[in-house]
Symmetry: C2
Subunit: 416 residues, 2 copies
């Protein structure tokens, strides 16, 4: 047995090979969940796994598990992985880098003849992206839940028929034939996931590795002001009930205060619309979406209350009404101290420059943290771009991330 | 010869009869310019005119003229009228009330045996609305120009083929067969037009008649901020270049200052949009329309400069760019003192309560004012609603307006 080493060439070749499955003309990937291309990627990884002598399992949500047996098969495994599905015009690294890094670590251990005390498993979560079926992180949610949540049975694919229908089990089983079946929600010793940052911090600060200590909480609000449409030219100020005036007044103040006063807050308006949408008509309605994030639940509560108050005040000032509905409410997660400190020790041992950071995006690890001690490692991506065909991670950053990941896995195995 | 009197019953019956041509299920009218319904209305009015012994003419823009001969046929006529075309989901009164009031006045004069010194003509202007072919007020613009402006030849109807093609003259002639042809831009002694206010002032102040002393100038700006899209959750404030933040900051200040500080100004944002329009993506672009009106050209200049300055400052503050294009620039018009004072005298003689006012909307009279001394009379409409199937004028207000119009015509004839 030698000291396990990441094979840079193998990892980079694997990234290229998987990027070819669903490759888009623009250099990205279209490998949406449970499409033919997604199945092809799963089948490819299954074949690679079997060739290495790893056993492969699938659960009722089509989450895929690749198992390196431990000296004590009865111990819960150390679980490592990510996802293989992509956005419709997605990049080559979002999900795939974490999945293939985890598989590279498994192969590195096998290459070195390491047989850990407990099993190590690579997991490929189903439908992380949520663009073809909502919600996202469907596989990890159901895994943690231990069953498929009510309501998902009715989900339909855009171009591929039902996800769950009367032949659900047959459909799911067909995704990866000749693999073992496993129940949802098996015990896990710890979960570790590598992912691209999907933001600009690491690149701009020239730090190769982020140790992720938690995931922000996220709330989505849909806001709709209703006033009264009227002629732009003939309606004096005192006769106007302009919903867009109310909306812009509120947004201008929220933009000017929420993020400037709370460095960790994220306040984004990604959609805005008015009706009837005529140049010379005062709008009848004006609406927008609000995406609000913060690592602390109590701060989120305060910020949401402030947003609601400001919107209500703006409505009152313009004699219009406002309706606010909350469409997403995901609590923040703080990752397990034990796992985070193992990562910090691994970084010291391996000589990796790191920074601690909070994830701004959702990840499967957010849900796994409800099931087992979990954490994440981030690597920089160019310009923070993701969900974009131009998404790019430098080869040296992929390799550094994989080495940090291997060191972390060894550290965790020594502690668990 | 007796003193001429408006026939209330006849006027109200005519309003009903014309409202039936292109009537919509919602109680409004769809009689867009040069459609079959518009032709039907023109043909009906032509038949009524011929039955009364009035002669009928049409020019190359299909403007229709109904002539009561004067004692001296060589004198330029007093021209009175409006339009018969409507918005796609328009009301029964916009245009039709002014046209049928003018025709009622002509019939009242004929009923009473009045033969004025100079001819009186009712005019029906082509395509005032501009919704089927742009620009609006096409008939009155070409009339004042004396020819069809360059570029209109290429205009196309949405559902009716070419407006102007190789067979243009034949097409136009077919609109009203068996009527005389007349050149564009014949001399006019004065022009008077009655119209619904299309705003709430008269109704709320309970004043039955508005004497319109001018028309606001109007400028339309298209504004487009460009920044950079990025992930809502992962992008900290210092890395954001958010075009919607810039746009809402500028709009909030412009809303808060332009109309509150300038009672005669009108500032309206009727359209707003962002791309890509995803809840969890900072927008790449944010754009809006601006409709700016004021009765004075120098004030419009100052307000436009202020808007441009504020937009540029907002762009700079958010490190985004802004492009501004001016798509409409119509100078304000002050109506002729002689005509306005004749209306004021007529109101005194007839005992009508009036107020002087500026028109916030465009009208054919805005263009006619460049050709002959002109003015307008407004009547109240419910809730200021227009361009809407629910548009409504109380019968007593229609009748009061027609009486004021008749008195005004007699006053003008005595002065010209």
């Amino acid at each position: 047995m030698t000291s396990p080493q990441v094979s840079a060439d193998r990892l980079l070749a694997r990234l290229d090979a998987f990027a070819a499955i669903g490759a888009t003309p623009g250099g990205g990937v279209n490998r949406q969940a449970l499409t033919r291309r997604d199945r092809e990627a799963r089948a490819f990884l299954t074949a690679l796994s079997k060739a290495r002598g790893f056993s492969v399992f699938q659960d009722d949500m089509a989450n895929l598990f690749i198992r390196m047996e431990g000296r004590d098969p009865s111990l819960p495994p150390l679980l490592i992985g990510s996802h293989l599905d992509s956005q419709p015009a997605g990049g080559r690294f979002d999900g795939a880098l974490g999945t293939l890094t985890a598989f590279e670590v498994l192969e590195s251990l096998a290459d070195a003849g390491v047989v850990p005390q407990r099993p190590v498993e690579v997991v490929v979560w189903t439908n992380e992206e949520g663009c073809r079926f909502a919600p996202g992180c469907m596989g990890s949610r159901a895994f943690v839940e231990g069953s498929i949540p009510d309501g998902w049975e009715a989900l339909r694919a855009v171009d591929d028929g039902a996800l769950f229908d009367d032949e659900r089990l047959a459909t799911i089983a067909a995704l990866a034939p000749d693999v073992g079946h496993r129940a949802l929600g098996c015990p896990v010793a710890a979960y570790l996931e590598l992912h691209i940052e999907q933001g600009p911090s690491l690149e701009r600060e020239e730090i190769p590795v982020g140790i992720v200590t938690g995931v922000q909480g996220t709330r989505w609000l849909e806001v709709l002001f209703e006033g009264q449409t009227a002629h732009a030219g003939t309606t004096a100020l005192q006769y106007r009930r302009d919903p867009l005036k109310a909306l812009t007044a509120a947004l201008a103040e929220l933009y000017a205060t929420i993020m400037p006063e709370n460095a960790e807050a994220r306040f984004t308006v990604g959609r805005i619309a008015v009706t009837p949408g005529s140049v010379n008509a005062i709008p009848a309605t004006a609406g927008c979406s609000i995406d609000l994030r913060h690592p602390q639940a109590d701060v989120l509560d305060r910020l949401e209350a402030r947003i609601r108050k400001r919107l209500a005040e703006a409505a009152e000032a313009e004699v219009v009404t406002v309706a606010i509905s909350k469409t997403v409410d995901m609590a923040p997660v703080t990752f397990a101290d034990d796992v985070v400190s193992a990562l910090q020790i691994a970084a010291q041992k391996g000589g990796f420059r790191t920074r601690a950071m909070i994830s701004g995006a959702f990840h499967d690890a957010l849900f796994l943290a409800g099931h087992a001690p979990s954490a994440m490692i981030f690597v920089p991506c160019r310009d923070g771009l993701s969900h974009n065909e131009a998404e790019f991670v430098r080869p040296e950053d992929s390799i550094a991330g994989a080495r940090m990941f291997l060191t972390s896995v060894l550290e965790l195995l020594s502690r668990l």
